[in-house]
Each structure stands twice: as C-alpha cells, then as structure tokens.
Symmetry: C3
C-alpha cells in the first residue's frame, strides 16, 4: 500500500479530468476495475455532470519576473476547477484571488471552486506577506470543456446478489491521508477478498466527491435494493483511532457490526448530514444502510486540506491496521446469521458429545464452553450470532466458531434464509 | 411587571372572596380578562364549590390590653378560611390556635384551613415565646357564607381552534413569589402575544388552587379535546434556575419543547402527583399534555409559604427572563411542524440556488448550511422541526429559519395538517 | 437454621444416593416434603438418569502403611462419582488421580466426575508435596449401580393454581455455603409461609444440580404453564451483599420485584447461561420467569468449592437476613396487582374522607398522602402497584397500604383478573 500511495501522490486529481483517469488506471493494475465515463451535461438527480477540467501549468510571476508561485511545485497551488487566465494586474487586485492560512504560515491550503466560475491560487501565508507591491503576471493554463466525469467500479460476485458497497473518494490532488489512504485500503481490500468465498457480493466505487455518488446513484437507482450493507472509507492513515459514523438509520447491521468490531477502542458517532459521500448514500430518498469508517475525520486534524497532509501522515502500519479492521467488519456482515437451537429444553448434554470438559467443580478455562452455552441460550431463531456476541461480550469469531461446532453435532441449524 | 406585583402584594387573597375579585380587576386593566363566578354548592367533579370567605379585621389582645397580633400588619397572621371568632381565653387554650415556625423565629408562616372549620393565627415564633400567661381576647371578623368562587379567563384566538392553556394560581395572600410572579408573567405574556399571529389559540386561566382548576375542568370538560399543549406557571421570580416538570405522559410536545428551550441550564423533572394545579390537569381522567415551569419549586426555598416571600424575592429582571423563556417555549409549540424534503434523493444542489457558499475546502463558518442539511436529511414527513433541533443540537429558531429558506426555494413543503 | 446446617454438614451428598435421602429426610422433619425417586436409565430431555452412587469408605495408604488420605476425615477427599478401585501403584501413577489447589495449599478442592467414569482423590497441596516416592495402596469402596435419582418436592397451595417455584440444589457434600445455606433458607421459608394466606401456590424443589431440574422439567412439562414466577436460591450465607441474576427474559415480574426489594444495596446482573439451575429453567425451550438470588456467586469467593466452605462461612444472622429478603420478594410477587382509580377526573377530595390532613400550607409529614396520590395518579388499569413503587421510589409495602386505604373508601378497585 505504501508504494501505491507514493505513486499516486504527485498526480493532480480533481472532480473530473485526466488525473482521475491516470489514478484509476494505476488502481487497475491491482484489481480489474471498470472505468466509467459519463458525459458533461448528463442530468443526475438534482445535479448536472459538469464540464471536464484539465490543467497543464500555472504560475504567478512577480514584478521582478521571478515565479513566486508555481503549479509544478505543488498542485495545491491552484484552486481546483479554476477557469483559464493569463493577465497582468497589481498585487492589490491579485490578492482577491489568493488563499492562505494565516494561522499556519508555511502550509498551502487546498481550495476548490467546482460550481462557481472563478480562478485562484493557494500559497503559504508567509510567502503572501513577502510579496512586494507591483505588477504581477498570472497564468492558469487549464481547460474547462465538455467532456466526461470518470469513476471506477468493481464487483466481486458472492453466492448471492445481495451486495456490500464500499465507496471511497478519488477527487483530491496531492493529499495523502485525504484520500490516498482510502484508495489504498479499498484497492488492497478488493485484491485480498477477490479470492475468498463469500455470501455477499462486494461492490467497490472509486468516485469523485458528491457528484460521483450522485451520478452513480442516478444511474443505478433500480439496483439499489440489492445493497444490504455499505461503508464509506476515507482518512484511514492519519492520526487518531478509528471513528465510525453510523448510517442515518442508526441501527443498520453495519452500525452494529462496526460497533462490535471497534469495541471500546473505537469512537462511535451518530449520523450527521455532512462529511463524505455518506451524505448522498444516506440522503432520505435512498437512506442506504451505509456507515463511514475513518480515523480523525475531516476538519479534526490540523493538516486536513493543507499541504501538510503529505506522505508522512500515512505510515504503512496504520494503513494495514485499517485494512484488517475493515475486513473484520465485513466478516461479521457476511458470516452473521440467525440459528435455532435444536435441543432447547434444558441444556443438551455437551459432555456426551465431547464438547464439554468431564471434570466438574473447577471454574477456569471454560471460555469455549461458555461460547457454546451462549449460542444455545440465545439462538431461538430471533437472535443472530452478532446478537450473541453483543450480549455475551465475546468476539464474533469465537461465537461463530462455537456455532460451527454445535452445527456439526446437529445441535444448531440455520433459521431459514436471511 | 414590578409595578403590578407591588400593587397586588398587599391584597388579602384566598380561595374565594373579594381579594380575588380585586386582583382580577387589576389584571383586567392590562388584558381583557373575563371574570367568572360559580355559586357555592355547585358540584364540580368529586368536589363542591365552598362557601365564600371574606375578612375585615382580626387581632389578639394580651392581658394588658395591647394587641400582640394584628391582621392589619400582615394578612398572613390569620389562618386562611378561619371561621369568625370573638372570645376570651387563657394563653394555654389560645396556643392550640397559634402557628409558628420554630426554626425561623422571625417569620410568619402561611397556613389555611379550607376544608375543615376552625380558626387560627400565625405569628413569629419569637413573639409567641414572649407572650405572658394570662387572659387573651381574640377577634376574627370574617364571614364564611354562601357566595361564589371567582376566577379569570382569557382567550386569544389563533388561526385554529387548537389551544395552548396557560394556568396560574391566584389564591395566595401577601406572598410575592408564590404567586404574584406567576400572575405578572402570565398577564404580560397575554398582553404581548395578543398582537401576534399564531396558529394556536391561547387560553389563560387565573384560578384559585385545586378547586379552581377542578371547577374549570368540570365546566369545560367537553371542550378539553382542543387543548394540545399547556403550562402551569408559578414561582417565576424567586431563587434558582428554571425547573420544568414534565406532564404525566412524560413525552408530550410541551415536555420536549421545554427541554429544548431550557437546554442544559434548566432542570427537568418527571411528573409527580403533587405540586400545583398540574395535579388536576394531569389527573388520569384528563391526562392533559401540560407541564409546569417554575424556578425553585414549592418547599425548596426557605422563604416558601412565609412572610419572607416578600417583594425582595422577585427582582424584575428575573420576571422578565421568565417571560421571555415562556415565549420561547410557546414559539416552539406554535411554529413546529412536519415537513417533507422535495428533493430527497441525494442532496439538492444548494449552491445553484444561492443557498451554499461557492468556495470548497474550508471547514468553518457553515452553520447556516448545516442547519439546511439537517432539515433536508430529517424532513421526510415523519420528523418535525423540533425533532431536527433536538437531533442536531441547533436552536429551534435556526432550524425554523433554515426550513423557511428551503421552503422559499420549493425544496420543502409542509406535511399535511398537524 | 444454624442447627439444621450443622446437622446436614457431615453428610456425604452427591447427585444421587443415600446422602441425598438422609438430607431430605431431615428437611422433612420441618416441612411435609414429598420425596421422589426416578429410576436409573429414565430418559429426561436430552439426558438419561445416571446410575446411583454410594460410598462406604476410601483411603490412600503410603509406602509405610500409614493412611495419607482418609474419606472419614472429609468427604471432599473423594472425587464425586468415583468408580470403585482397590489397587497398588507408584506415586507417579497415583498423581494422575490426585487433585489439589496449588494456590491454596491447605484446602481440599471439591471435584466430581459425574459423566465420565474415573476415580480420584482431592487433598491439600501441602500434603501432596509431602508424599514420598514409593508404592501406594488406594481404596474407594463405592458402588455405581442402577438405582434412583432422589429429590424433594413440596407444594403449599394458595388461592389460585398459579405457582411461584423455589428451587435449590441438594447435591453438594460437606460444603456449608454451597449449598446448606440454600437448603436452610428454603426449608424455613416453606415452614413460615405454610401458615399464611396467599394468592399464589408455592412449590419448593430440593434437587441435585443440572440433572435434578432436567428430570423435574421432563416429568412436569405439561404443568409448567402454571409457573408465574420463580427463584433459584443458593449461596445465601457466605460473604458479600445480595446478588440477583435476572431471568433470561430480563423483564419478568420476579426481576422487577427483586430489583425493587434489593434497591441500591443489592447487585443486579443480567442473565448468562451458566451458574446454577436457572440454566435449565431458563433454557430457551422453557424460558421460565425465574431469577436467582445469592450472595457472592460461584467462583467469586475464595472458599468456593473447597474445604474452607465450612460452617464458619454461614453465620446465622446472614441466613436470617436472606430469609427475610426472599419473603419480601415473594410478598411483592403475591400482593402486586393492577387497580383502577374510580375518581380519575381531578383528585378526589381525600380530606372529606379523612385521608388527608386538614391544615394547608405546610410541606412536611405527608408521606402517606403522597403514596395515595401516586396510587391515584398511576392506577388507570395499565399500571400495577409495583409500577407505582418503582416510579415513585416508595417501598412496595407503603404503596400497598395506600391502595388498601383507597380501596376501603371505594376510590380504587382491582382491574379484572391478573
């Protein structure tokens, strides 16, 4: 994942354009991604697919002819979706197009203007203060023309058509945690899970923020009934422990599975209608059972949306930890189920079946027996294994293992279809 | 309000009688109060309207002929509803009719005997201890005769017949916080709201405790279905922050509105079947959706029901604060409603409608946008604006404003009748 | 109870056999217990009644011919249900049959092997360490033969056929807290309650653990519908405050009654599927409304299942306290009921009926009036007196007393059958 993140980091991505295409092409080397192109002007829900933006170069030259800002140093220097410009103007006029972070004098902010035609540059506040009065020349050699919105999609088929949807945003330029971390985790997750048997199909989306999920939702509205669970992944390499944001419903299976897997070390938050693309998936007209997993969320770590969100912010061990955590959540979602105790009157005699220690009187070393007793006690058809794990405080994997042992001995059967 | 309280303070009010009539007449100078008279002996629910009590004078003369207690000093000196008496008796016999507060040696307690025929005097404990043995002469020049129970009623008509009922007790003599504070706040509330457009009609009751609401409920039983919300107001000028007591139902709209308006600075208490006239309105046969707003409740401040509950206990700024707080609660009750997002699939494009800032990437200064997103997210017809305020933690007024903006742009419509 | 415990202490009880018979015979001197015998081989639910075990003697002789372990010193020395053995063997081989507690060097552990044929001895770890190498002679003069499982049952008939079931285990040898404490409390409870009028019938079971309730449940399956409430009693004389374990349902009447009676001094725990015989009564196929009352539960005090659980662990005052606590819980279960306020519109005039103090204005000394107001407020047919006690925080007995007063005055009637 570290190599992938390093390779993607320099690319200038935006809502649309060749940066996204190049990114998806690199991801496609790891997984068989399908790349979709949707034409400018296509009506998608309340929105319209915008014109495509591409940029070749941009700079500001000072009165002495020296470049004081250069796109080649950092693609954050240009406000995303800036219209082309080539002009001379005094500093006073130029200032209206310059964005800085006064409280972080050496960092370049990340700004965009997708839906309002303008242009601008972002730079360190220290550099702005050093600019001398005089005539400046600015150049943004960009195109904003009819073209396409590009996104990536991947379906890993499971035993059933029921889907788990994984979505991550692909539209940010050289920002490492936001969101090369999400791209790397989702890509490696897809690569690893491609091999495994699963009940659910897994659908991965690599989409530009807001307009991406809106486009996908508009194009796939009829198939949304298949989505049983979903996760938006972002900001998985940065500071802090895991933060799970519940679906709008608040009690979806993915909410419970994530809460169980994160346990007391993770932070659980209720849904709120801003954030990442859960805003669209969980809008009231769709209300999909999708949560969001991040570490410290947007706006809650100082490097957020600045040039300080660089490669140093995503240590590989943190990406790996995130990958395993997502796998564990998906495992609960895929392997949970309702079962029925076949010997519900009194305890079945587990000792006779070799499932119970023979020496009575001692009190220790009986965790496996306890997991079986919990399964037998709660599995009356109205509780799932996740219910058992939640109620007993045992890890889902132990409960699942106990259920498998009991099923082998005919003491447990699955409760109809899920 | 201060002037009104000062003017009402000296009047000797009781369950019935001319003190109540004089009080209502003064209130009638501020609002068009209708004064009702119900004859002694009228059956009202499980009760009977009692005889009317009026008092002209009362005193105790000591063995030396000097007055040791004089009604003209304080109307608290006479037990309310004392039967007339003119007699001589030794101190030992008189003592059985004297009430004091040993733990507050200089205060006169407030006592009544509405439903049991007796007479008595209240005096400072210090004065009782100074009484010398000997023959005393007592006089209570009162009448307890067939007459009427008197109360005041005022209806401010709104757009609908649905009513909010405001009730406050009018039966206490010279006690300032209990309840000239409630009379003043209710009167000025009526005067201020008379001018405003409202959906709900507002009904104000100025009634003697217990028998007052019982009489009103008995006479208006068929019309109670109109009462959608209600508040008992009392003790609003005294010490402490606001204390809201929930309705018997515990989840009435007024319970939620009051909790929202008081926020963390107010104290919320569950219903209990004693207190003020919520006892009658919330009796199980009526179970009206009425709560109670006070500051420190009955029995929870030392001056309660003593001569120390005087004008110094009701600073005008505390009355004003209470008035505004009640208005804010009524505003939520009147302006709440269920709405339906007309663009529920994905977020509508607010920027195109001028409702959203155009520059992306920054994280601050977006409270108004957040209020709109909350309204859009929750308003699916099953949530009201108060739900949105509760869930989002935003003030109701901000949520209401966001809803108005969205409605102007056709993004929100009201969900049928309420 | 102390005398009873002292008399029962030396008897060697087990799942079956003459020790149980002798124990039940002694209990039968206090209450008219019926003793049931169920033949070996009888199929009971998923189990089979085992062979009957009786033991006459057992010992280990060392290389020098001296007895190093002697059953006559303590019946804990022999693993329960050991098969007969008479053999010579070196210490190394003998060790596999010896059980000790290395962390409690002077205590003998209690061990059983009911369902797997083997033999063994239990001894202090210090004594094990002192054994010299050499040839040992072992003898367990026991029989494991077809016979019967024995248990005791007692029914105290009430006004109705609805039953409260009290169950306690009778299968442990010389262990005082576990469970002579339970036997003593249950026996004296039955003796005391035999005299009193009750609505519910009371059924007491004195049964060996696990196989006892399984046998009783199998034999009485058709009559289980009569059981409205139940308690498993055990460990009532040992250390610690009361610990109530909820039924599997978690909201049974006995769960609420016990929580109310224990109040803040008791500890409440959710059901878990191990412990005592609640495991069987609350298995999902029966799911009886039965909880469990103990002090420090199994495994949570150091003397548990060791020779240190001796008579010193069950001081008589602790047994008496437990007896009264159980009676209080049963009293709530038996005397609770739903009532209907017959004057629900406004408060009824209690003063006219002599139920209310006549002097108004004071705030103290009105607990009895408050209990009546709570009953009148909540008793609308959908709340029981226990609801009133829970909601008001008043003791059940006070609420019950208030209800009785109101009923005498015709203000309250019972709400149909319970």
């Amino acid at each position: 994942m570290q190599t992938l993140v390093e390779r993607l980091y320099p690319i200038c991505r935006s809502l649309t354009g060749d940066g996204v295409r190049e990114t998806l092409s690199i991801l496609g080397e790891h997984v068989p991604l399908e790349v979709r192109e949707v034409a400018t002007g296509t009506k998608v829900l309340d929105w319209t697919v915008p014109r495509e933006w591409n940029i070749r170069d941009a700079w500001i030259e000072g009165p002495d002819g020296k470049r004081v800002v250069d796109f080649r140093d950092s693609n954050l220097h240009v406000v995303g979706y800036s219209v082309p410009v080539r002009a001379r103007m005094p500093l006073s006029q130029l200032r209206e197009h310059l964005h800085t972070l006064p409280e972080r004098r050496d960092w370049i902010p990340y700004r965009t203007s997708y839906w309002s035609e303008t242009w601008g540059f972002c730079l360190p506040h220290a550099r702005l203060e050093a600019l001398e009065e005089g005539e400046y020349e600015v150049c943004i050699d960009a195109t904003l023309e009819d073209g396409h919105l590009t996104y990536g999609e991947l379906l890993l088929e499971g035993e059933s058509e029921s889907e788990i949807l994984i979505s991550t945003h692909v539209c940010h330029p050289s920002l490492a945690n936001d969101n090369l971390s999400g791209l790397a985790v989702a890509t490696f997750l897809a690569a690893r899970l491609a091999e495994r048997r699963r009940r659910h199909s897994l659908r991965f989306l690599f989409v530009p923020g807001i307009i991406g999920p809106i486009t996908w939702l508009a194009l796939n509205e009829r198939r949304l009934g298949r989505i049983r669970h979903g996760l938006v992944l972002a900001l998985l390499g940065g500071p802090g422990g895991f933060v799970y944001k519940r679906s709008r419903r608040g009690d979806a299976q993915v909410d419970r599975a994530s809460a169980h897997v994160l346990g007391t070390e993770g932070e659980l938050r209720d849904f709120e209608p801003w954030g990442y693309d859960e805003r669209q998936y969980c809008s009231p007209g769709f209300d999909l059972p999708m949560g969001r997993l991040t570490r410290a969320p947007h706006g809650e770590f100082p490097e957020y949306h600045t040039s300080a969100d660089d490669l140093s912010l995503v240590p590989p061990d943190r990406l790996v930890e995130a990958l395993f955590k997502v796998e564990e959540i998906l495992d609960v979602l895929d392997r949970d189920g309702a079962y029925v105790n076949q010997s519900p009157k009194g305890e079945p005699q587990l000792g006779r079946r070799g499932l119970f220690g023979s020496l009575g009187g001692a009190t220790t070393g009986r965790e496996r027996e306890r997991a079986m007793l919990w399964v037998l006690s709660l599995c009356d058809g109205s509780h799932t294994l996740l219910d058992v794990a939640e109620r007993s405080g045992l890890p889902f994997a132990d409960v699942r293992g106990a259920a498998d042992s009991l099923a082998e001995h005919g003491l447990l059967v699955e409760a109809g279809d899920r």
